[in-house]
Amino acid sequence: MKKIACLIIILFSLTTFAQQKGDTIIANNPSNLKLKVLYFHVTNRCATCRSIEANVRKTLNDYFLNKIELGTIDFYVVNCELPENKELAKKYDAYGATLAITSYMNGKEARTEDLSNWAFQKAHDAEVFVAELKTKIEDYIK
């Protein structure tokens, strides 16, 4: 019976862990901060939502890695349905998949742009998505 109990526990753990991935929050140096890139998602995600995240990550990894290391850009990928993210989600009006960027001037929030509609339009063309997001980010961190 012990063996069966162990087996049940292992199987349940596997299925549970497969669905739960931690949020990504990278904020390296608040005094250098010029831009926050935030992507919110729900718990049960579709392929389009995942491709948006992948495209955002690719843009940052390919072109802005040093800016992230310096703290010029912060990057958030958070589940808007989790209680710990409720306040942040409310601030960004993010009740489902939402891509937003917020610029900072002298440590204060300057401007927020909601890129959700744009992101869903371009999600299926990674090349265009990455190129356009790269330009947008460059404009903000000039």
């Binding site: 299925t15 579709c46 939502c49 009006d93 993010a94």
Partner: protein, 179 residues
């Protein structure tokens, strides 16, 4: 007795594995394309549509509407294996139409189609709207000219957890396009 225990153990393990894989098997198989979920199979020519109508919104296509009057077409695109947000968008669209546009639906000024983009029969319409997955598009047709707004982003952002916000956005867009 030992053999009996082993047998019992083996059958429980087998049962658990069957249950586990049955649960996982519901996603990822795109070869089976159930077309029953489409309320209508979209074609370039609405007269060609022959699939049974599920949505009352589609029953409105009765009297022809003059070209001088603006008409609104709403497309709910989806793939075969749908996520909760995609389903929520379709449900919120139905609610919006039934609550605010019952008359326009009857007059044929507002129409809605639910289109599975995985179905080859819908390839043309999906390409026209560049709909590769879930999406909601609102098109105004006036004097033969089409203007389209893509509300997919708003749909994914609000329809599941803040439905009233999405209904408001969709309602306002339809009202604007009906002018």
């Amino acid at each position: 007795m030992k053999t009996q225990n082993k047998l019992q153990f083996a059958s429980i393990v087998y049962l658990l594995m069957v249950l586990l894989f049955a649960g996982c098997g519901s996603s990822g198989n795109k070869t089976e394309v159930p077309k029953k979920t489409d309320s209508i199979r979209a074609t370039e020519n609405p007269k060609e549509a022959s699939v049974p109508i599920k949505d009352t919104a589609n029953k409105a296509a009765v009297a022809p509407v003059s070209n001088d009057v603006s008409k609104v077409m709403i497309y709910n695109f989806h793939v075969t294996n749908r996520c909760a947000s995609c389903i929520a968008i379709e449900e919120a669209t139905t609610k919006t139409l039934k609550t605010y546009f019952e008359n326009e639906l009857k007059q044929g000024r507002v129409k809605r189609r639910i289109v599975n983009v995985d179905d080859e029969a819908n390839q043309k319409i999906a390409e026209k709207y560049q709909a590769f997955g879930s999406g909601i598009f609102v098109t105004r047709i006036y004097k033969g000219k089409e203007t389209t707004t893509d509300l997919t982003g708003d749909g994914f952002k609000f329809a599941k957890n803040k439905e009233e916000r999405f209904i408001e956005i969709l309602k306002n867009k339809i009202l604007e396009y009906l002018k």
